[in-house]
């Protein structure tokens, strides 16, 4: 411990003063304005980062670090110099503050003194904007602004009733929290820090006259600051009128603390009728009167006055008088009052009062119109968010744990729509529809159907059963049946909608949309001819039909393209795909995912036309764009990756094919699980390109992963893929020098392939070729040679695939027959 000098002369010992406690305490005070590094421990908390700094100190975000529980807090550090003399006093006041519970007061949680002497206060962390910035950013109307101020006044009044002052009310201490409510920060911190240098700490311009004078500070001082806050909240723009003030400071020079009052500036307030402005100005001026006794009796009274103003009743602050009271009566009860006016004061006054009211009505109407516009815009924004952002983000492939909570939230939101919007069925219907669409995309068909049924019910009540909005919603509802693969129900629903839409006429867009859905239904149930004619019919009816938008036309053309490809009418399919792409480009823009997505249809048709290089170019392009735009897990990215890999394989660019197929496998495993047939299909294709690229071990690992993943065929499509998988496994066994196993696998494949692929299909030929090579590998007999030779004509006719197998046959034959 330092020995305290007993005489001033002791300070003359060189180094004594600079090593002594006074100099250290000065450094401590100086350092209080410096930052604490992240990780600094204050009580039970650990500093994470600085989030702000003001005249009174630095604010940090901190986390509880005593292993008790997780909690984020805001910690304010302030200078301890000149603080309360008594630790006991500090602790008592801190306790009182910690016990204050009010929805609009950020709670004080803890506080203490850091080792360097600075005081710290842990408070509820409020993540929000300053009140003045908030009201301007949202362009809030006067009532909303005053509503926020009323919350602040309530909070201050609540504290005053418990004998607590705030002492430092300013916009930086009044935040808007996530719920849109006011939160007052730093309640009572100024008094905890102590009075003696508090004047220095006040924010320039915001100190009350009694604070500046160093006089007794009471509730009226908080009222003064609330009055300034009201002025700030009413302003249209950033305050121009803060008088210059010296930095609040700690410099040794005598601080010039006087003459730094903020000026109330009603001319900067948002638009309101002149008379109303004059009243409000009177209210603000009374609350901010220089003489504390001239202000309202209490903060609560100040709040009540604002309520009166909002209710268009006479305000006390206004000089009042007969004329003023009459005007207030007129605006509250225009008809009654104008009668009184006519009787008492004659026509002249009536006209005067009326024109005044007209002017006011005009201003109010303008404000109302602006508000209505804003509300409409925000409703639209919500809808756009739901329909576009949320729905697109929650695509059908995204059925995984990550999205489950969103789905649950939306499910829970359904009953709340009824609670909140019982009086607004139109909005409720919109919300039900949007929630239903989202739920469907989140893989929750049952709650989706429930929400959509509610939407249909509301819309029917509003518009009648045959209204096109009802029919349109019923079409969306039919998607649920498609999703659940209940094709009979789907068709029944579509037929019913078609019947109900008949009165609208065949060229009505809803009628055309129903037929498009029906054609799609034909397509997915495998009746490609019916699908093609259905799409073609819808296309014909939409030609020159202004009621059909480009997006619908594009969907018709896209469906037509797919159906035509299945009918081997590849050139027409390609034309339809090009037209679909053109239409989507017009409607949505050339880079829109739906526009790019048509590339899949184009590529399908191109492959059919054996224009595989072109298909690969398109697929390579859209794969990169999709991956960049949606990430590797998105459905469109996965489809493009798979198709790209398969077609690179067709071009015998096996090494290049591995990466996209591996990406498709990874994404599908995550989306569908390793046991899904969809995943198996991509894994089989991956194994194929791996073995053909000469990576036999990798190929074997891939097919082993199919087996260990628990794959079980669910439907014919899976079994069809499975039939090819056996042959691929046969190819691997052959490459690995296990011809007997290859024979067994290829024979299994042949039995299955013949069920799914017609005579002459390349799949059949490849299995035959592989089987013949297996037999040759087991025993290069004459019989086996005859089998290989018998393949020759078919392979010659089979283009690229034929040439691939021919080369293998030549190698095998050459190797064993030199």
């Amino acid at each position: 411990m330092n020995s305290t000098p007993r005489s001033p002369l002791d300070l003359l010992e060189p180094g004594a003063l600079l090593a002594g406690p006074l100099f250290r305490s000065m450094l401590g005070k100086v350092a209080n304005q410096s930052r604490l590094p992240a990780g600094t421990r204050l009580g039970a908390f650990r500093i994470a980062e600085e989030i702000g700094a003001g005249g009174m100190g630095v604010v940090y975000r901190a986390e509880r670090d005593d292993g008790q529980y997780r909690q984020q807090v805001a910690i304010k550090c302030v200078s301890g110099g000149g603080g309360p003399d008594s630790q006991a006093l500090f602790r008592r006041e801190r306790q009182v503050l910690a016990e204050i519970r009010h929805p609009h007061i950020a709670r004080l949680l803890d506080g203490g003194e850091h080792s360097d002497g600075r005081l710290w206060f842990a408070m509820e962390l409020v993540d929000g904007a300053r009140i003045d910035a908030h009201v301007r950013q949202l362009g809030l109307g006067i009532a909303a602004r005053l509503g926020l101020l009323r919350q602040a006044i309530d909070a201050v009044s609540f504290a005053h009733q418990r004998l607590l002052l705030h002492r430092d009310i300013k916009p930086g201490n009044v935040l808007i929290d996530a719920d849109g409510g006011v939160k007052l920060l730093d309640f009572g911190i100024a008094s905890l820090v102590g009075d003696s240098n508090a004047v220095h700490a006040y924010s320039p311009g915001w100190a009350s006259p009694e604070q500046l004078a160093g006089a007794e500070v009471g509730p009226a001082s908080d009222q003064y600051q609330l009055g300034l806050l009201l002025d700030a909240v009413l302003r249209n723009d950033v305050a121009p009128a803060v008088l210059s003030a010296p930095t609040p400071a700690t410099t040794g020079a005598p601080a010039a603390t006087g003459s730094t009052a903020r000026r109330v500036a009603p001319e900067c307030w948002i638009a309101m009728p002149a008379a109303r402005r004059a009243e409000l100005r009177a209210i603000v001026e009374r609350a901010t009167a220089f003489d504390a006794t001239a202000r309202y009796g209490s903060v609560a009274e100040f709040g009540a006055e604002l309520d009166r103003w909002l209710q268009l009743r006479p305000v006390a602050a206004h000089g009042g008088g007969f004329w003023y009271g009459l005007r207030c009566a007129v605006r509250r009860h225009p008809l009654v009052a104008s009668g009184i006016a006519a009787t008492l004061l004659g026509v002249a006054l009536l006209i005067g009062a009326f024109s005044w009211r007209l002017a006011q009505e005009r201003d109010l109407a303008r404000a109302a119109a602006a508000r209505a516009e804003r509300e409409a815009a925000s409703a639209q924004a919500i809808n756009q968010f739901l329909r576009n952002d949320l729905i697109r983000a929650a695509d059908p492939y995204g059925v995984n744990a990550k999205d489950a909570p969103i789905g649950e939230l939306i499910e829970k939101a359904i009953p709340r729509v009824q609670e909140r919007l019982a009086e607004q069925p139109a909005i409720a219907a919109e919300l039900y529809a949007a929630l239903g669409a989202t739920l469907l995309n989140l893989g929750k068909p049952e709650p989706a159907a429930q929400a959509m049924d509610l939407a249909i019910e509301r819309l029917t009540a509003l518009h009648g059963a045959r209204d096109e909005r009802v029919l349109q919603q019923r079409l969306y509802r039919a998607d649920v049946e498609e999703y659940a693969a209940r094709y009979d129900t789907l068709r029944a629903q579509l037929d019913a909608i078609k019947a109900d839409a008949a009165p609208l006429g065949a060229k009505h867009r809803v009628a055309i949309a129903v037929d498009r859905y029906l054609a799609w239904c034909d397509y997915i149930t495998g009746d490609f001819a019916a699908a093609a004619s259905g799409f073609e019919d819808a296309r014909q009816r939409s030609i020159g039909n202004a009621s059909v938008d480009d997006e619908s036309r594009a969907s018709i053309q896209a469906g037509l393209s797919l159906a035509l490809s299945r009918l081997n009418r590849y050139q027409e399919a390609l034309d339809a795909a090009s037209e679909a792409r053109r239409l989507r480009s017009v409607a949505l823009g050339p880079d829109h995912p739906e526009t790019l997505g048509i590339g899949i249809e184009s590529a399908t048709a191109l492959v059919g036309l054996d224009r595989i290089e072109e298909a690969v170019r398109i697929l390579g392009d859209i794969y990169l764009r999709f991956r960049e735009r949606f990430g590797p897990a998105h459905s469109q990215t996965i489809i493009a990756a798979h198709e790209l890999g398969v077609n690179l394989g067709r071009l015998e660019r096996f090494d290049e094919a591995i990466a996209p197929l591996a990406a498709a496998v990874e994404a599908k495993r995550a989306a569908f699980g390793p046991a899904s047939g969809n995943t198996m299909n991509s894994m089989a294709q991956l194994a194929l390109v791996q073995v053909r690229a000469g990576r036999v071990d990798a190929a074997q690992a891939t097919v082993d992963a199919i087996a260990s993943g628990g794959y079980v065929a669910q439907n014919d499509y899976d079994r069809r893929s499975e039939s090819l998988l056996y042959r691929i496994m046969g190819e691997i066994a052959l490459a690995d020098g296990r011809p007997e196993e290859a024979r067994r696998l290829c024979e299994q494949s042949r039995g299955e392939v013949e069920k799914f692929f017609p005579e002459g299909h390349l799949a059949r030929l490849q299995t035959r070729a592989c089987l013949a090579l297996a037999y040759w590998g087991i025993d290069p007999s004459d019989r086996a040679r005859q089998d290989l030779l018998a393949l020759q004509p078919s392979l010659d006719a089979a283009g690229r695939v034929g040439a691939f197998w021919q080369a293998k046959v030549d190698v095998a034959a050459g190797a064993s027959n030199p």
């Binding site: 300070l11 006074l22 450094l27 590094p37």
Partner: protein, 194 residues
Amino acid sequence: MLFPNAVLAGYAMGEVTKLLERARGGDAAAWDRVVELIYDDLKRIARGVLGGQGSATLNPTGLVHDCYLRLSRAGAEGVLNRDHFMALAARAMRQLMLNHARDRVAAKRGGGAQHTTLGEVAAEVHAEAEQLIALDAALTRLAAIDERLVRVVECRVFAGLTEEETAAAMETSLRSAQRLYLDARTQLAGLLAG
């Protein structure tokens, strides 16, 4: 950035030089600015000492050197004499410490409460603050006798300069500086006793 603090940034380069010259000539406003300059450096150093690295030792001479170097870079080089500046800084330090001592004493009086719970460190600070205020009053009176005796105390006690640095700052010989300091101590003892 060349000027890391607001005080300096508010001045053009030539002005810094003029400011220091005016301060030496007794201009009160210019003097306040010099105090702020020193105070700013003090803040920076205090952060280093208390802000984390653990070392509680402070070299005030280093502080003054740093401040001088910064001013030199700000354009005072060549015009501002380093030794003059040392003397000036020592005076600024005296001013700063006196202000702080006064704040401490005033804070205790202003509270009006009993001081029984005051911590030991706070009590030491308070005691030293009162010693310093007494010493400062004695120095003020000493100035009437011999201004140079005050300068030497400022350099040795408030700026922590060595005997050699003090001699250079006062533009005198080492031996004279030593003698002046002894004289000052004797005179102050008399003034404080009286």
